[in-house]
């Protein structure tokens, strides 16, 4: 072979086109990456602009202090957001009561007790649970959980807060379990070994070492679970009813922020009416709630990462 590879390289290198590509690509990719930012801006602007229109028709103070949500009234429509918030909180509260103990227990079991084989089976199954579409959960709540509950507690109505609350809880179990498990299994093995080498039982290791070390990660998972529960739509649309109520009753029909948006979207109001704008105001409130949760969760898990 006569010519050297370096000579061939020197000849064949089309440096100009290479340079242009190298310059162009980062710019293109930057544009693509900005789509996610634009999406956020789009969401915020959409919500804000339509919400402002809403507030030109309904006083801001009525909205945030009002305890009556009566958008369809003939005489005097009232838009006090609290009944929808209360409905949302009822669902979220029940969901958390169901999901936190089970989710965290499952996380402890998986990270501290389960053998690799068990983990290898259980984790994908939990993933399946996490992948079940919420419409399916909604159907399950309406056609199974509610009738079962009614057979024990006849005072429970067909549309109520308990059944969808429980099912939303079931829905977020995998999320809490897997995020908590991540937090716990990222506690270095050496720390766990240190505790075991002092004669600790597995429970002592879990309870006195792993859980405290992973605590902020665990809290972050719960907060994210909260955020998911607040934003959950189909389960409540199907099974919780559509009666915005400002009270403490869990057995009867309620309405959440998400379910109201769906109700109106299904056709209760035409474009341009106050009711139409009200879904943006509700959507914006919902957005603020979940955003606060997400930021809190991000903060918690960051704290946790710094610890060791």
């Amino acid at each position: 072979m006569g010519t050297s590879v370096q000579d061939m390289i020197a000849k064949s290198n089309d440096k100009k086109s290479k340079k242009i590509i190298e310059k162009l690509i980062p710019f293109l990719l930057f544009l693509i990456a900005s789509v996610s930012v634009l999406t956020t801006i789009g969401i915020v602007l959409t919500l804000i602009i339509e919400t402002i229109t809403f507030f030109t028709r309904v006083p801001f103070t009525d909205f945030i202090f009002g305890t009556t949500w009566l958008p369809f009234s003939n005489t005097e429509a009232r838009f006090g957001i609290w009944p929808l918030i209360v409905g949302t909180l009822k669902i979220t509260g029940i969901a958390i009561v169901v999901a936190v103990p089970i989710g965290i227990s499952a996380a402890i079991y998986l990270s501290e007790y389960a053998s690799d084989n068990v983990r290898r089976v259980v984790k994908p199954v939990l993933e399946v649970l996490a992948g079940v579409p919420t419409i399916v959960y909604g159907f399950f709540a309406l056609t199974f959980v509610t009738p079962v509950l009614q057979s024990f507690f006849p005072e429970i109505k067909i549309f109520n807060a308990i059944s969808p609350g429980i099912v939303v809880g079931i829905m977020i179990i995998p999320m809490i379990a897997s995020l908590s498990e991540d937090a716990m299994s990222s506690v270095p093995k050496s720390i766990r070994d240190g505790a075991l080498a002092m004669g600790s039982t597995k429970f002592e290791v879990a309870w006195k070492v792993t859980v405290p070390a992973a605590l902020s990660g665990i809290i972050a998972s719960v907060v994210l679970g909260l955020s998911r529960a607040i934003g959950e739509t189909m389960i409540v649309s199907l099974a919780a009813g559509s009666t915005p109520k400002f009270d403490g009753d869990f057995t009867g029909s309620i309405q959440t922020m998400t379910a109201y948006i769906v109700q109106v979207s299904k056709g209760d109001a035409g474009y341009g009416t106050t009711i139409y704008y009200s879904i943006y105001a509700v959507g914006f409130t919902l957005f603020l709630f979940t955003m606060a949760m997400n930021i809190l969760a991000g903060y918690m898990s960051k704290r946790f990462r710094e610890e060791y």
Partner: protein, 292 residues
């Protein structure tokens, strides 16, 4: 003096072991409970809907007669939807991930984008529906077409795909990058020839899981205004359509008990589609399992 008395230690040991056992049992029970929920859910739906499953169910349009109701329009509609969502979300997702992992300087802008993505992932899907309604359906006048719904869904799952792709790209060992640069390769050559091939399994796995979320999402479709009474198949992306979860929602909210059965059958179809997509993901994950 000695503080730790061995006899006491031995005596307490039994109690500690029992506490350990009890809690182990409790944790196991809780885990089993979560799994049990899944089993009940699946059993319920299969036992309710299996009877309605037949070839006709797949090839019929929806009908006001429960026994003739089929899922054809919704199934085909969902496939159309995926045909829009998959390329859109993957180009955007992988592109963003490449930018963030390979090009962006670690600084305020990057961490802002990163934080933004994390927050976007937590925005409820119904809010994405409002975005789609305002921007795609109304402002861009796409109506309730496949394209409008597809773009909405793409944005919805974008954060998931970005994060999965970032993780896949990040898990490509730095040594491979170094080796490529060390041979005089440019950045883009390194990305195309080394990084993407090595990360592709992770990217695909993450993307398929994200797509299977998109296929089951209902709320954005409702808000965007997808109809259900549809007796035809779409032929282009600007056509109206209906999708599996919409059809299931419609059936499950009908009062006649027979339609509950139809809804359950629809759910089985949806779950089979999801199972199929997940098995592809698992297959890819196993097939491309890298040995570096």
């Amino acid at each position: 003096m000695r503080y730790i008395e061995q006899e006491k230690v031995v005596r307490r040991m039994n109690g500690r072991m029992i506490v350990n056992r009890i809690f182990q049992g409790f944790f196991m029970f809780a885990t089993a409970l979560a799994l049990l929920a899944l089993v009940i859910l699946l059993y319920r739906i299969v036992s309710q809907g299996a009877g309605h499953l037949s070839l006709d169910f797949l090839t019929n349009f929806a009908s006001r007669f429960p026994d003739q109701a089929g899922i054809k329009a919704a199934l085909v509609g969902s496939i159309w939807l995926m045909a829009v969502v998959a390329p859109t979300s993957m180009i955007l997702g992988v592109g963003s991930a490449l930018y963030l992992e390979e090009y962006a300087k670690k600084g305020r802008i990057t961490s802002f984008i990163q934080m933004n993505i994390a927050n976007l992932a937590g925005v409820p899907s119904v809010v994405f529906g409002l975005l789609g309604l305002t921007i795609f359906v109304r402002a861009l006048a796409l109506g309730n077409s496949i394209l409008a719904a597809g773009f909405t869904m793409s944005l919805l799952i974008l954060p998931v795909i970005i994060v999965a792709s970032q993780e896949a790209i990040r898990s490509v060992p730095g040594e491979l990058r170094d080796a490529s640069y060390g041979m005089g390769a440019t950045k883009w050559q390194t990305i195309v020839r080394i990084i993407l091939p090595a990360a592709i399994a992770g990217i695909l796995t993450g993307s398929i899981l994200a797509l299977s979320r998109a296929i089951g999402e209902t709320a954005p479709l409702i808000v965007v205004g997808i109809p259900v009474i549809i007796q035809f198949l779409p032929v282009g992306v600007m056509d109206t359509f209906t999708a599996l979860p919409m059809q299931i929602y419609d059936w499950s909210s009908r009062p006649q008990a027979e339609f509950q059965t139809v809804a359950a059958a629809g759910i089985i179809v949806l779950m089979v589609v999801l199972l199929f997509m997940n098995s592809i993901a698992v297959f890819i994950r196993n097939k491309f399992d890298k040995s570096y």
